[in-house]
Point group: C2
Chain length 208, copies 2
Amino acid sequence: MSHTTWTPMIFIVSAPSGAGKTTLCDKLQAEFKNLHYAITATTRPSREGEVNGKHYYFLTEDEFERRLKSGDFFETAVVHGYRYGSPKSPVIEALRAGRDVLMNLDVQGAAVIRKCVAAAPPGDPLHRELVDIFVVPPSLETLKKRLVKRGKDTDETIERRLKQAKEEISHWQEYKYKVVNDDLAEAYDNMRAIILAERHKTRNRADD
Amino acid sequence: MSHTTWTPMIFIVSAPSGAGKTTLCDKLQAEFKNLHYAITATTRPSREGEVNGKHYYFLTEDEFERRLKSGDFFETAVVHGYRYGSPKSPVIEALRAGRDVLMNLDVQGAAVIRKCVAAAPPGDPLHRELVDIFVVPPSLETLKKRLVKRGKDTDETIERRLKQAKEEISHWQEYKYKVVNDDLAEAYDNMRAIILAERHKTRNRADD
């Protein structure tokens, strides 16, 4: 009788900008060493402090195109003229190595991965449990205060972000879990609880 | 937007004798004040230190019979000539008051409640999420060592308990979650995680 293993799974975290998603994902990676954090590929130049393979995979247009043609992206998007894509192969490698995968995605990206995983037939490395979590601010008023306090955006940008947040939040029911980030410690306790609980689902047990 | 409430649910914990179920349930009650711990009714006399309404509802034969006839028991059993029953009304009252219910049941008892809750039609106070957790010792060898160390049982009783444990453990796949109690702190962390995670399931959210 061995009771220590589970079938590796895919965790998706989505949240409107300013809900604290990045902080929560960083904390999850710090606690759960087994988590593989899926990184986005992009053709935009790296900014100061950004590390290739840690924050993004920085690719040339040619390399991006080559990978796209070989079918290595779950999804791609163009933002401000630069291309972005979620590479499949590192996700599949991590799952094969027995690691859970953590993906930080917007509502549209999450929908694509959800569909892709649901369509994976038995035997396919992506045929597995997908656990999606939507992180929300306690209210739009709180979100606005946080964005103002952060001081990174103009009033106009803040209004645009709020409008976008409202639209994104309307999708919360597409997710399996919803965590309100009012108090960071409490929100994190709930996020880690979801990971621990999912690993203890009978149907996810890889043991006897 | 209020995000702090969930639809109260029923948690069932089952485990073979010696797996640490009582300690884990006590710890859950200490942390989650909202949990209503469902108590069994019995016609057996109270033992030293047992409190009516805390450890058991101690009933006379007549009172037990009256409640049985009024349909107030989920299930009843006879052990060593005494009657035992799981009363429905305190569970329903707790759920109506917005409290989650924690039931400590054997495999047979859990099966009865599971069936009863699954059969409850919409509008029925029992029509709700049932979350069942099976707690197992790391191995039958460990369980044996624990029972020997506890020093409460004869060799014969220990052998009987082990045989029963083996039979009970064979039912683990009937449960939604399985928690191995190797290290108590770790097992407890996983138990509380299950409660927290279930409260954050989108479909259990009572808010917007």
